[in-house]
């Protein structure tokens, strides 16, 4: 960031674009800074299912903050999500990985920035980390509360769903029935209100960011978002696997599971400070 944004510098162009990913059409929004060319560009990678919906506004605010600082941003919806084509139950991680590569190519070819970075949240962060292992020239990698172990992520999310139903049943919510036992045999599972294919479930379970040291050598930020003052062991371990990894605890309500407006200032502020150091934006 070069100086505080004024009314003039705070103006950034935003436009809706379409990105072709195989047979799918992805809807995206480009945020361009008021001056050209952008000092860098960030591709945002959204999280999974309900977490995407909850965190949408935070991504918008982060993209706008980046644009004000001279960094272009590309926010896109994976196949079956948001305004993109396809349906959610059809989605699988293979398609989403192709979508991310398509969005990355779009950013490289169309945003006019020489330096490209990735910013992901939760499962989106895991996919961003995977792509960084292929795109070693990436300028930076920002991982917000990444899903580091897919199996545990699935377990915790399913538990959260169970707990929500049990805890809200006394407030007039839906009572639990026997469907949980039947889901073991179903082709799709009810994942916190979203139908998720068995294939997708198995692919997510295979995600493991802690398995080995990372090849990506560039600046890497692992933001641990919670009420706690210390970085969790998993986040610390992940950051340590990167050549230039840094884990930071940020006191932040869970932006991926909180319904309603959340003040994401701590997360955006920490990320912008890091971008300033990492990219000089």
């Amino acid at each position: 960031m070069r100086g505080a944004p004024t009314a003039a510098t705070a103006r950034a162009a935003e436009s809706s674009v379409e990105i072709v990913s195989g047979e799918r059409l992805l809807r995206a929004v480009v945020h361009l800074p008021s001056h050209e060319p952008p000092r860098a560009a960030l591709v945002f990678v959204h999280p999974f299912a309900e977490e995407k919906k909850c965190s949408h506004r935070v991504f918008v605010e982060m993209a706008r903050a980046a644009a004000v600082a001279g960094c272009a941003a590309l926010r896109f919806d994976f196949s079956g999500c948001g305004d993109s084509s396809g349906t959610f139950p059809e989605a699988d991680l293979g398609a989403w990985r192709r979508d991310l590569r398509a969005a990355f190519r779009y950013a490289r070819e169309r945003l006019g920035a020489k330096r490209l970075g990735l910013l992901g949240l939760r499962l989106g962060a895991a996919l961003a980390a995977e792509l960084a292992e292929e795109e070693l020239e990436l300028a930076c990698l920002a991982l917000w509360e990444p899903v580091v172990e897919g199996e545990r992520y699935l377990t915790l999310t399913m538990r959260r769903s169970v707990m929500r139903r049990r805890l809200t049943a006394h407030e007039g919510g839906v009572e639990l029935d026997e469907e949980g036992e039947e889901e073991d045999e179903a082709a799709e599972i009810d994942f916190d209100g979203y139908l998720v294919s068995r294939e997708m479930q198995e692919q997510i379970a295979e995600v493991d960011l802690l398995d080995e040291p990372k090849a990506y050598p560039g600046p890497t930020l692992v933001l641990n978002l919670s009420g706690r003052a210390k970085v969790s062991p998993a986040m610390a371990k992940l950051a340590s696997q990167y050549v230039s990894g840094e884990a930071l605890p940020v006191r932040q309500e869970p932006i991926w599971s909180t319904v309603g407006l959340v003040d994401a200032g701590p997360t955006i502020g920490a990320t912008m400070s890091w971008l300033t150091r990492a990219l000089g934006v």
Binding site: L156, R159, R166, L167, G227, R228, A229
Partner: protein, 86 residues
Amino acid sequence: MSDAALRERVKELVVECLFLDVAPSSINDDDNLMEVHGVDSVNLFEIVVALEEDYGISFEDEDFDVETFSTVTSIAALVERKQAEA
């Protein structure tokens, strides 16, 4: 860890994880967290992950009911039970 120490630690976790704007010591052991401190029942899940991390325990689906997570005393009792089972 003594019962009292465990309850104090649970209070700290409740304040940390649920972003309560109160001192841990101001929470009474048997306060209903939802009724007295306005905790959103859905957010109670945030405590679960912290408890598992800090105490090396693992909860099962059947552990999650409103009574178990309603007070510091009941949460501490669950932690003790899980530690004994481990």
